[in-house]
């Protein structure tokens, strides 16, 4: 599933599109931060997520990867040994809905860079161009055991722009932090927000009809644009006289969506909005990676399962607007039981510090504990298309680890250490909460 962002097409057109979407460009291959010395995490309760729980397990990390995993293995000579006796060792947590850096702390008008609300269609803008790397929220979230976040634009626009997936390591530049070879993602939004933002200015969209019409129009135009370029290239190849069409980065992004080169994440709450998005996706033939928030997802759980669309949601946010009125805390449990991959997301640097307690809350309202653990690890990884790299403790996966003092659902638990690519990025013993 990974690597689609850098796949080079053979035609000039595909190359052009790839160049246009530098979001997927690969940074230097070898992680500069991976320590040469192996690390052994010994004695802990390994919550592998995909292969059950292993008491007194050992993890051996080498070159930024999980090199070995087993019961009471001997640490290799010269290894840095982390004693996790009595502790719970989890894969680093993953948040599919973060605004870190694009809405950094403290709130300041000068730093609001998450919502390009000048046009309901801004698929071409990229979150990575707005990420403020000094956002102190990043350190706090890292201290909450989160290692991978998808930073997405806000929901003021129908097509808000492109996501960037970061690892919350200690790097100094965006390239240091970018999740290498992660697929591209785009944020779209439906329902109240776009129609409120533009409707209140007496602009379109003002209604849900308007939401749908504008999106359909955009994809229709994208198909036409694609056709124009196709004709141009065919003519040029055949040596026929032809006029080069003007390039349009918005249309190029939408073609990437239509061609399945970008994972689509749609902010959407109400059942009928969810169904409207599915109609449009069917009409234009693209797939959805996830619905974000999706508070009424439980009403169409089997449909979401059938289509293999992930759901990123909260256990207990509700009622802040009409489309959040039917939210129920049992929804994550119902969705998981129906076979939907659920991501318990944050949408906030506050919640992101305690995703494990979000999982505990979901358990309170009926979600199975194993499912709740998946909902902060492997399922979000799968929704982002990075599950071959992160989201579980397995040999060969990235050494992204969170060590908890108690079971992650326990209110008294604390994240003692966070490692990313084998490097220690948070150590509660070393310093106070950032």
């Amino acid at each position: 599933m990974t690597g689609t962002g850098t796949r080079m097409g053979s035609s000039a057109f595909a190359a052009l599109l790839t160049l246009a979407s530098a979001a997927g460009a690969a940074p230097p291959a070898a992680p500069a931060t991976a320590p040469a010395t192996p690390v052994a995490i010994v004695g802990g309760m390994l919550m592998t997520i995909t292969r059950g729980i292993m008491p007194n397990g050992t993890l051996i990390l080498r070159d930024g990867k999980i090199a070995e995993l087993g019961h009471a293995l001997a640490p290799p000579p010269g290894a840095i040994v982390i004693d996790a006796t009595g502790k719970y060792v989890m894969p680093g947590l993953i948040d599919t809905h973060s605004h870190l850096g694009v809405y950094p702390w403290p709130d300041a008008r000068a730093h609001e860079d998450g919502n390009e609300m000048t046009d309901p269609l801004t698929p071409h803008v990229r979150a990575e161009d707005g990420v403020f790397l000094e956002d102190p929220g990043m350190a706090r979230v890292r201290a909450g055991g989160v290692t991978t976040v998808q930073i997405i634009p806000g929901s003021g626009n129908l097509q808000g722009g492109q996501a960037v997936i970061l690892k919350l390591g200690l790097g100094n530049t965006l390239d240091d932090l970018k999740f290498r070879d992660a697929p591209r993602g785009i944020k779209m939004a439906f329902g109240e927000n776009p129609k409120r933002v533009y409707g209140s200015r007496n602009q379109a969209p003002m209604t849900r009809m308007g939401n749908a019409a504008i999106v359909r129009q955009a994809f229709t135009r994208a198909r036409e644009y694609q056709k124009q370029w196709g004709e141009f290239e065919a003519n040029a190849k055949a040596g026929k006289p032809t006029v080069r069409p003007e390039r349009d980065p918005k249309m190029e992004t939408l073609i990437d969506v239509l061609e399945g080169r970008v994972r689509v994440h749609v902010h959407c709450y109400r059942k009928d909005d969810l169904l409207a998005v599915l109609r449009i996706a069917d009409e234009f033939g693209f797939k959805l990676a996830s619905f974000q928030h999706c508070l009424e997802g439980y009403k169409i759980a089997s449909e979401l399962a059938r289509r293999e669309i992930g759901v990123a949601t909260w256990p207990d946010w509700w009622g802040f607007k009409m489309e959040a009125w039917d939210a129920i805390p049992q929804s994550p449990g119902l969705l998981a039981a129906a076979g939907v991959r659920v991501s318990l997301h944050s949408d906030s640097a506050n919640v992101a510090q305690r995703l494990y307690h979000e999982a505990a809350k979901a358990v309170r309202y009926g979600m199975k504990p194993e499912a709740a653990l998946k909902a902060i690890t492997i399922w979000p990884a799968s929704i982002l298309g990075v599950d071959s790299r992160v989201g579980s403790l397995e040999v060969g996966k990235d050494a992204d680890i969170a060590i908890f003092t108690k079971h992650p659902f326990d209110v008294y638990t604390r994240v003692e250490k966070t490692l990313i690519d084998g490097q220690l990025v948070w150590d509660a013993a070393a310093k106070e909460m950032p």
Partner: protein, 474 residues
């Protein structure tokens, strides 16, 4: 059609039932919670313990040896914690239903910066769906406060989360008068061109409190004059009575009345009552805090805002409670010395605004250690249900667990002024009781039973109803 018919039948049945209830004195409701870990919050834990309730009152609390008379219905609490109903010392319950829909939002009047005369009881919707949702983690009693943007924003009330009317729900109203310090209040002042700095804000507050002092003086003067007037009137009325036909002796005349009065011209004019000063409900509302009848609940995050509140309290001899107190840990010793309690929360307050840059999870514990009395609030509406989790988070960051529980039970009751009847499982107290399957501070612990004023509360909400409707899948 069918729905409306069954609704009519239902209503008729309800009316008949309530008519019945009025006609005959209902039989006393008596029950005993038996077998749970009874954490009284009054110094004792009985494990297993028993709590006996008659009507709305706790009549006995004890261990397994406590006799349960046969007229008490037994409710099994084995394996569960039996704790006082939780008290959230900072909510907006009943004032707001859907944030973005104005027609459901009575949170923040904000038409005038100075609205101390507003009372939340005039806006609380007892049918709010949020109330049912809030109860499902054991919350029984809340402080409802108006929004915090204005300087003086109104009078908060303590309510139980059950009842058909706000009168029925009321535990104490008014409970506190709310004042906002810091950025939000300054922003409101700026929007109205009244003031635009913290200096201006505090200046405005002092000006108002001085006005109240003047008002009180005027009222006092008026009362004094009224008393004098009563005396004058009485003597005038006496002087108007027809004089006895006995001629006064010369000696008596000399002793009691000047010769001029004998002429009778001045004395015959009826004394005028003093002019009543114009009444001002805003100033009268504020007078309650100057007369120390109500505590002033001051929203303050930054430590300098807290110190400003303390200065005001010194100057005007106010009873003070700090709301939020994000940086209160930096003023802990002073708060302890002056015995000013802090309603901490939200516990997960983040350094996400300029005025909360000093936010720390350890705030509650640092305050307790310094000897400051604390309660914990959610400062929420829709997620008041996360109150036990808020207490749990404080406990996870150092606050001893029993102190965390106290901050949402007995300590909260003390700060809200209701500890005579609330906050602990004690003989004579109101029977607000939560039965929780496991440690109530754990986010995964579920509620088994809830009682408010001795009545069993159905553990349902619109959300559980939606769940029941959709759980079978579609």
């Amino acid at each position: 059609m069918r729905a409306s018919k069954s609704l009519q039948i239902g209503l008729a049945a309800l009316l008949t039932a309530s008519a019945f209830a009025r006609a005959a004195e209902p039989p006393a409701s008596r029950f005993a919670l038996v077998g749970g870990k009874v954490v009284t919050m009054a110094g004792r834990t009985y494990d297993p313990g028993r709590v006996l309730v008659e009507n709305q009152t706790i009549v006995a609390v004890g261990g397994a040896e406590l006799d349960v008379p046969p007229r008490f219905r037994t409710i099994d609490a084995a394996g569960a914690w039996v704790i006082p109903g939780l008290i959230d010392s900072g909510t907006h319950l009943g004032l707001i239903e859907v944030d973005l829909e104005d027609q459901t939002n009575d949170l923040d009047d904000s038409m005038d910066l100075l609205s101390p005369h507003l009372r939340v009881v005039d806006a609380v919707n007892p049918a709010s769906e949020l109330i049912r949702v809030s109860r499902l983690t054991g919350v029984t009693t809340v402080l409802v406060a108006p929004g915090e943007g204005d300087v003086f924003s109104g009078q908060a009330a303590v309510l139980d989360l059950a009842g058909e009317s706000v009168e029925e729900m009321t535990v104490r109203a008014p409970a506190m008068l709310c004042l906002g310090l810091g950025s939000d209040a300054v922003n409101r002042g700026r929007a109205r061109s009244r003031f635009s700095t913290r200096m201006g804000l505090i200046g405005e507050i002092r000006a108002q409190l001085l006005k109240v002092q003047e008002y009180l003086k005027k009222q006092e003067k008026y009362r004094r004059k009224l008393e004098e007037h009563k005396v004058e009137l009485a003597s005038w009325e006496a002087s108007q009575k027809p004089t006895a036909p006995v001629a006064p002796t010369a000696a008596a005349v000399t002793a009691t009345q000047p010769p001029a009065a004998l002429a009778g011209k001045e004395a015959s004019k009826r004394p005028e009552p003093p002019d009543e000063p114009e009444r001002d409900l805003k100033l009268e509302a504020l007078a309650q805090v100057l007369e120390r009848k109500l505590p002033l609940l001051v929203r303050a995050h930054r430590q300098d805002d807290i110190r400003a509140a303390l200065r005001l309290a010194d100057e005007f001899k106010l009873k003070l409670v700090i709301n939020h107190g994000t940086e209160a840990y930096r003023v802990a010793e002073l708060l302890a010395k002056k015995d000013v309690p802090v309603i901490v929360g939200p516990v997960d307050q983040q350094p996400d605004t300029f005025e909360t840059l000093g936010a720390r999870y350890e705030n509650a514990e640092l305050l307790r250690k310094a000897g400051v009395r604390i309660a914990i609030q959610t400062s929420d509406s829709h997620n008041v249900r996360n109150l036990p989790y808020a207490a749990g988070l404080a406990a996870a960051h150092g606050l001893p667990p029993e102190e965390a529980l106290a901050a949402v039970t007995i300590e909260a009751a003390k700060i809200l002024g209701i500890a005579d009847k609330y906050g602990s499982l004690d003989k004579g107290k109101i029977a607000n009781i939560a039965v929780v399957e496991g440690d109530p501070l754990q986010p995964a612990s579920r509620l088994r039973h809830l009682f408010i004023r001795g009545k069993s509360i159905p553990l349902t909400s619109r959300q559980t109803e939606l769940y029941e409707k959709w759980k079978a899948g579609r």
